[in-house]
């Protein structure tokens, strides 16, 4: 009944993604935001690193009230 397993994520891609999340200080939302830019289809790694660091530092220095906290917010 089943088709074979379909592996989508390559091991090296998973490792790269995990490293980018580590660079973002554990905030995968930052990585997703950088890699979800609708105005481009690809990004070079150096640019991605720079943008992740910028976003990470922005969130780090932003007032606590402006930083989204983990948890389900009010609907």
């Amino acid at each position: 009944m089943l088709i074979d397993n379909m592996r989508v994520l390559k091991e090296k891609d998973r490792i790269l993604y995990d490293k980018l999340v580590r660079l973002a200080g554990g905030d995968s939302g930052i990585v997703i935001k950088v890699l979800s830019n609708p105005h481009r289809s690809s990004v070079d790694l150096k640019t991605a690193i720079r943008e992740i660091e910028e976003l990470r530092n922005t969130r780090k220095h932003a007032p606590a009230s402006l930083v989204p906290q983990a948890g389900i917010a009010t609907l």
Partner: protein, 288 residues
Amino acid sequence: MSIAWATVVIVVLLLPGFAFFWGLYAPNQVTREVSPASPLAQLAGVVIISFFVHAFAYLVINTGLCVNFPPVAVPCVDFDELSALVRIDAFTLPGTAPATFRAMLDLYIFWILLYFLAAGGLTGLAGFGVGKLIENGHLRGFTRHRYLFLLEKGRKSEESELVRAYVLSRTQNLNTVIFYDGILQDFFARADGTISYIVLHDANTSAMEITASGPAHSKDSIPLDVESGASGVRGTKPFLVITSENIANVYFEPLNTVRIESEADTEVLDKAINELEQSSDKTTSASH
């Protein structure tokens, strides 16, 4: 006995057709079905392909190889012998001379084996070639579920192509439905194209409320990997498996492709992570 013999002969004669479909499904993981969506249609395909392969081989051997190939004494195909072999009862019919199977097989067993190996191998290779053409987008008209190929594209690319999946689950409380999102790691699909189960890497969960004015999604997601959320660092993240019973629908979002121009880029990344984690460690130890 005669029924069993006829079955064996038919299966052997259909070998090229089976080899073709084996080759067809071999190149990609999408269409390699344990059970095809239409077994009867596939069996018909096996019979038709086998018929034409044998007919073509008969034409080539009897009009070319066995006549005009002097370096090797290739024997011609004796169709009368073959039909007698298929219909084993013919050898025991009244008025028919006893069959001399053994002598024929002793004499031609090498050629018979070579014939079926060549016919099976070549049709298997032909099927593999067609499968590669489908995989590379040249015969997409023959594919049933094209979205599977789109998702699989990233795995075959040299560059880093990640796909994010948003899974609307069937777990709900009143008007609130649980929602999952994460990096798509694996999935199984059924022969009809529906997802059997899905595996997410670095998964998060959130909630969606269905109101009269439309669905309202919660602002933030909770990482399922609680440890990662606390410390910010974990070597390998766990994964979430969601089965079809809990999947209402899935939204796939291919993310920007990450181009790695040189090894130096990854070194820059490693260095940046080390600096960040070292400074984080210093801050932690200073606060204690």
